[in-house]
C-alpha cells in the first residue's frame, strides 16, 4: 500500500457548539422552533411555581404570632409558620418531658460518636464497631430514653454498652493519633510486644474483665427517671421505630435470604412462606394485625405495649423485603466464586461471610438504601394506629386551640424535613457506590 499521509495531523480546537455557553444553549434548548417554544413554556411554568411558593412561604408569611388570628391579621395569603415554630419541640420530641429532652439529644450524640470511626480511614476494627453498635447501643439508648429500674439483663447490657463505647472511643483516639489499634497500643505500653500471642490475648481479656466489672459497679447507682413510652413522639419516635427497623432489617433479611437458598427443605419452605406472606400484605394491615390480633394469640395476662408490637411488625415486614433484595444480590454472584472458596477449604459460613456477602452487599447498596428510605417514610403509617410519630404530631397542630385548622403549613414543613433526610441518604448512597467501585475494578 502506498503512503496516505506523510505528516502527523495537528490537533484543532473543537467547534464552538461543543465548548461555549451560547453553543450549549443553542444545541440543547433552542435547536428548533418547537424546542424554543418548549423551553420558553417550561421557563414560564417554573416562574409561576417559584413565585407562588416564594410569595406564600416567605414574602407574605408570618413567623411570629400568638395564634392563627394574628397570622391572618398580618396577611391573608401568606403561610402561618408561627404555628409550626410554636410546636417545634412537639414535632421533634412529642410529649417527652421538657426537662428530660437532653436524654434524647444525648442518645443521638452517643450514636453519632459511636459510628464516627466507620468514616475514619485510619481507625482499625470497623467491623467490630458496626457489630457493637447494633448489639449494645439499642440497650443503652433504650434505658436512656425510657429510664426507670433496670432488670439484671438490662444492667449487663448497659454495662456492655458503656464498655464497648469507651473502648471504641479509645480505639478511635489511638487510631487517629498513633495510627494503631487500641489492643496493639496497650500491648506496646505494657512492653509485652515480644510475649507469645496467648499471653497478649490473656492480658487484653483481663483488662476487659476489669473494665466490665468497674462499669458494672458504677452503673448500679446510675438511674434516670422513668418516662412512659406513651410520651414518646414526634420525629424522635419516627427515628426510633425506623432506626430499629433499619438496624434489624438487614441482618434479618440476610438470614431469611440464606434460609430461602438453604439445602434443607424445611428451612427453605419456612423462609419462603414467611417472606411471601409478609410481602403480599400491606404494611398497614400488618400493623393492625400486630396491635389487634397479636394479643389474642398471647397467653392470658401477657400484655405487650403497643410500641413494641409496632416495632416487631415493622422489623418483620422490612426483613422480608430486605430478604428479596439480598437474594437478588446473591444471585448476581457467579458460581465460580463459590467454587473458588470451596477449593481453598472454606465451609458454608466462611464462604458466605468472607467471599459472597461482601461482594453481594456492594451490589445491593442502592437497593438497600432505597428500602431504608422507604422504611423511614412508611413508618408514618403508625400515626394511623394512634402513635404520635412526626406525622401524628404535625396533624395535631390543627386541633390545638390557638392554631385550629392549621393544616397546610405543618404538612409542608414535614415534607421538607423528610425531603432533607431522605435526599441526604440517597446522596450518600451514590457517594458510597462511587467510592466502593473506585476501590477496585472487576
Amino acid at each position: 500500500m502506498a503512503i496516505i499521509k506523510a505528516e502527523k495531523t495537528p490537533d484543532r480546537s473543537a467547534p464552538v457548539s461543543e465548548t461555549s455557553v451560547m453553543g450549549w444553549l443553542h444545541k440543547n434548548l433552542f435547536s428548533s422552533a418547537f424546542n424554543t417554544l418548549l423551553t420558553l413554556f417550561t421557563l414560564y411554568i417554573i416562574y409561576l411555581t417559584a413565585s407562588g411558593v416564594y410569595g406564600w412561604g416567605l414574602r407574605d408569611a408570618t413567623f411570629a404570632a400568638e395564634n392563627r388570628r394574628e397570622c391572618y391579621d398580618y396577611s391573608l395569603t401568606g403561610a402561618c409558620w408561627a404555628g409550626v415554630i410554636d410546636w417545634l419541640d412537639n414535632i421533634f420530641y412529642g410529649r417527652y418531658p421538657r426537662e428530660e429532652i437532653w436524654r434524647i439529644n444525648f442518645g443521638g450524640l452517643l450514636l453519632a460518636l459511636w459510628m464516627a470511626p466507620l468514616w475514619m480511614g485510619r481507625v482499625k476494627g470497623k467491623v467490630l464497631v458496626g457489630v457493637t453498635v447494633v448489639v449494645f447501643y439499642p440497650f443503652l439508648a433504650g434505658y436512656l430514653f425510657s429510664g426507670g429500674d433496670k432488670g439484671f439483663f438490662m444492667q449487663v447490657m448497659v454495662t456492655g454498652a458503656i464498655v464497648a463505647f469507651a473502648i471504641n472511643m479509645a480505639n478511635m483516639i489511638t487510631g487517629l493519633t498513633k495510627n494503631m489499634g487500641l489492643n496493639a497500643f496497650i500491648i506496646q505500653m505494657l512492653e509485652q510486644g515480644k510475649a507469645p500471642d496467648k499471653t497478649q490475648r490473656n492480658i487484653l481479656l483481663l483488662l476487659l474483665a476489669i473494665a466490665f466489672a468497674a462499669a458494672f459497679v458504677w452503673q448500679v447507682n446510675w438511674t434516670v427517671e422513668g418516662v412512659s413510652w406513651t410520651k414518646w413522639g414526634g420525629l424522635f419516635l419516627t427515628l426510633v421505630i425506623s432506626g430499629i427497623g433499619i438496624a434489624s432489617a438487614l441482618p434479618g433479611g440476610i438470614i431469611l435470604a440464606l434460609g430461602r437458598r438453604s439445602k434443607l427443605p424445611i428451612v427453605r419452605v419456612l423462609s419462603t412462606g414467611f417472606i411471601e406472606v409478609f410481602r403480599s400484605v400491606p404494611l398497614i394491615t400488618v400493623l393492625f394485625m400486630a396491635t389487634t390480633m397479636f394479643p389474642l394469640f398471647m397467653p392470658e395476662g401477657f400484655v405487650l405495649n403497643k410500641l413494641v408490637q409496632v416495632i416487631i411488625a415493622v422489623i418483620l415486614f422490612n426483613a422480608c423485603y430486605m430478604a428479596e433484595t439480598v437474594r437478588a444480590g446473591l444471585q448476581a454472584i457467579p458460581k465460580g466464586q463459590f467454587e473458588g472458596a470451596h477449593t481453598i477449604g472454606l465451609g458454608y459460613w466462611g464462604t458466605m461471610g468472607l467471599i459472597i456477602m461482601p461482594q453481594a452487599l456492594k451490589h445491593m447498596i442502592p437497593n438497600i438504601v432505597g428500602s431504608f428510605i422507604g422504611l423511614l417514610k412508611d413508618t408514618t403509617l403508625v400515626s394511623i394506629i394512634g402513635l404520635f410519630d412526626i406525622l401524628g404530631m404535625l396533624r395535631s397542630i390543627s386541633k390545638d386551640v390557638p392554631w385550629l385548622g392549621l393544616h397546610k403549613e405543618p404538612l409542608v414543613f414535614g415534607a421538607i424535613l423528610f425531603f432533607i433526610i431522605c435526599f441526604s441518604m440517597s446522596k450518600y448512597s451514590r457517594h458510597l457506590e462511587v467510592k466502593l467501585s473506585a476501590g477496585h475494578k472487576h
Binding site: Q337, T343, G439
Partner: protein, 258 residues
Amino acid sequence: MSDAQTKGQLASAISSEVMIEINQMNKWYGAFHVLKDINLTVHKGERIVICGPSGSGKSTLIRCINALEEHQEGDIIVDGFKLGKNLKNLDHIRTEVGMVFQNFNLFPHLTILENLTLGPVWVRKMNKADAIETAMKYLERVKIPEQADKYPGQLSGGQQQRVAIARSLCMSPKIMLFDEPTSALDPEMIKEVLDVMVDLADTGMTMIVVTHEMGFAKTIADEVVFMDEGDIVERNNPDAFFGNPEHERTQKFLSQIL
C-alpha cells in the same frame, strides 16, 4: 523456556503410595449418564493429563475428585478419605486438594495478597505474618511478587491464572487439579502459565491436568488418559499414547487436534 521443558520429559518421582483411587464410579446429571464405570488410580507424585472431546466428562471427573460434584455410585478415595456424606472427610478433601479453573475464580473484592492469605488464615488457622510470608514465597515462585497489592481485575489473564495457582499452593495441598487452565488465555500468555506448571511438576506434586496443550502433556505427563462420552477409553504413557494410539476413538481424536 524453563530448563525442564527444554530437556523434554521430566524426571518422574512416583511413589507406591496411592493418592487417589476411583472404583467403578458412575455419575448422572438427572437422567443423563455423564461418567460410566470409571476406574482410576493415581499414585503420589504422579502426573496425569486427561484429554478428550468436548462434553466427554473431563471436567465432571475432576470436579468429583474434590467433591465439587456428587457421584451416585462407586467409591472415590482421596488421600485415604472416602468421599460421601461424611462431612469431616469433605472438609479434609477440600483443604488437601487444590484446584485451578479455566476462568481463575479469584476473589475480585480482595487484593492478590488477601486472596492468597485467606485460606491459610481462616482454614489452616495460620497466623497472619506467616501466611503473608508463605504467600510472598509462592508469588515469587509464579514470578509476580510485585502485584501483591493490586486487585485481580487489574491483572492480565495470564497473571490472574498464576495467582490462582499460587492461591491453591498456599494451602500446601497434596494434590493439584487443573481444569483447562490455559484455554481462556490469549496465546502469548499460555506459555507463562505452562512454565509455572512445569516448575510445579518438577517439585513432585501429584497433578491431574485437563488440557488440550499436547506439547505440555508430552513434557510433564507420566500417563495420558483419554476420555470419550463418559468412558475412560485409553490410558498410556505419553510416548505410546501419541506415537501409537491403540483405540480408534483415540486415533480419530488425535488426528483432529494434532
